[in-house]
């Protein structure tokens, strides 16, 4: 899903580990790194919202956040590699960094392209008040 509303990559990469696909995949130079093990730096003014970094990060540590999706909601995109996949329009449970349920959320998009190399991107519409807490969704079971 490419939404024209301005957003930003949120990079939660706390350690100096040897890894830089986020930098290689960013065509506009919005993510830079000072050496292979430095932590990535994000330059918001250069980000065009393509979300390639979200799919490319082997640590699944990059999220894409649109703060003002509408008056009360933000939109968050994260990588998702479980089955079954959620569907657009489905209501799922948005969870915290620790997997704690925080809110019911509508699935705005499920994206998959060859270049993502088997990772899918899920975008949820979430309450603005929880935009800094919600980072994932409760995994679906076959019954969902």
């Amino acid at each position: 899903m490419r939404d024209k509303k301005p957003g930003q990559a949120v990079i939660e990469c706390p350690q100096e580990i040897p890894c830089n696909p986020c930098v290689s995949v960013c065509k506009t130079g919005a993510i830079t790194m000072d050496g292979l093990t430095a932590r990535p730096e994000f330059h918001r003014e250069k980000c065009v919202g393509c979300r390639m970094c979200v799919a490319a990060c082997p640590g699944q540590a990059i999220f894409y956040l649109i703060d003002d999706y509408d008056a009360d909601h933000s939109a968050i995109t994260f990588p998702y590699e479980y089955l079954p996949m959620p569907k657009k329009g489905q209501i799922v449970t948005a969870v915290s960094r620790r997997g704690e349920p925080l809110a019911e959320a509508e699935v705005l998009a499920v994206d998959e392209t060859a270049v993502y190399n088997k990772t899918r991107l899920v975008t949820l519409k979430i309450p603005k008040t929880l935009k800094d807490e919600i980072r994932f969704m409760k995994r679906l079971t076959r019954e969902d």
Binding site: E12, P18, G35, G59
Partner: protein
């Protein structure tokens, strides 16, 4: 008797890296591997790799294996599968059991790339069916498509424990708990965060003190550990589980290196006793190179680069020419060094340095 210029034992990332570089320089290169398929542990790795694009970052492990095998094939590397290296014979040849038939191989240089084996952990009930190593569970699920259990307790928060927990969850199992004896997660924080988001609880300063069950694991008893790693009475918790997986590190497979007379050293941070080597991956025996986990347990990307370095040096030492030998070696060393840079790899870097200093003494002057 089979004759080759360079014999490589082990067709995992280190062995394939060595084979590709040696063959590229024109050396007649033969790889033997005891498995039915080349690629080593790479075919079990369904996650995207770290590193930079030159280390195949963002590519999944099994895809890297496909690329390496295609490259080796294109360069004329011969790979004998289902072929186990038995050891060194008195005449200097290497005995192998190829498809059940004994053979000997004469080679000018031998590159050992035999990997590492998983450590065990002993606790009451550890012999019950349902207790196994994380790598075994990963082989079952990712190679044979069999989930070893539905309710898992994982011991160890290194990258193996974290990644296998993630993969078994992808496969449909529920990881009920991941326990780690030390106070912090020892693997990459991003791997830990991935499974935390999936709702898997990580208990640091905890271990499994007992596996219970009649003829199969039915529950795991976990407990908190004090600063001396002793269980704190009263903190025991029972977790319903059918599988307990052990991911408490690996140790180098050194049997062949010992037979070849390679000098050994002990480095706990890299898995234990291992052969020393110089900055060209030469062991103390000038005919024998060591690389990959067997030369100190790190990870697949580093193994691949160590293999490349060994392959380049072995070929050059046999008189194979490149445009610039020194540049080629330094390029491989720089690539390896980049994987060991950063605060998180500090201990590995220093340990490797110490090993190479010891290894260099055999080639001084």
């Amino acid at each position: 008797m089979i004759k080759t210029e360079i014999l490589i034992i082990g067709a995992g990332p280190a062995g394939l890296g060595a084979a590709i570089e040696a063959a590229r320089l024109g050396a007649k290169t033969l790889v033997v591997d005891e498995n039915r398929k080349a690629g080593g542990q790479l075919y079990k790795q369904i996650h995207k790799f770290f590193g930079s694009s030159e280390h195949y970052a963002g590519v999944r492990g099994f895809q890297i294996a496909d690329k390496l095998l295609a490259e080796a094939d294109g360069l004329g590397v011969e790979i004998l599968l289902n072929t186990r290296a038995l050891g060194l014979l008195d005449d200097g040849t290497v005995a192998v059991l190829a498809d059940g038939k004994a053979e000997s191989i004469e080679a000018d240089k031998v590159i050992l790339a035999v990997g590492a084996k998983e450590n065990a952990l002993v606790f009451p009930g550890w012999t019950l069916p349902g207790v196994m190593t994380a790598g075994a569970a990963q082989t079952f699920s990712n190679v044979y498509g069999i989930l070893v259990g539905q309710e898992i307790v994982m011991i160890g928060s290194g990258n193996v424990g974290l990644i296998v927990s993630y993969q078994l969850t992808q496969g449909g199992a529920e990881v009920k708990a991941l326990v780690e004896a030390v106070p912090d997660v020892t693997g990459y924080e991003v791997h830990a965060n991935k499974i935390r988001r999936a709702g898997i609880p990580i208990y640091t300063s905890h271990t499994v003190i007992e596996a219970r069950g009649k003829d199969h694991v039915e529950e795991a008893v976990i407990a908190e550990l004090d600063a001396d790693f002793q269980p704190i009475p009263g903190t025991e918790k029972t977790v319903k589980a059918d599988t307990i997986l052990i991911a408490v590190g690996l140790n180098p497979r050194i049997e062949l290196a010992k037979m070849f007379g390679c000098a050994m050293t002990y480095e706990g941070a890299l898995g234990g006793t291992q052969p020393v080597h110089d900055d060209c991956m030469r062991s103390s025996n000038p005919k024998v190179y060591v690389c990959g986990d067997q030369a100190g347990v790190e990870e697949a990307s580093a193994a691949l680069e160590e293999g490349r370095l060994a392959g380049i040096h072995a070929a050059i030492s046999l008189g194979k020419e490149s445009a610039d030998n020194a540049a080629l070696l330094n390029c491989a060393r720089a690539s390896l060094a980049s994987l060991r840079s950063g605060a998180f790899a500090g201990k590995r870097r220093l340990t490797k340095q110490r090993i190479m200093e010891k290894g260099a003494t055999y080639y001084a002057g």
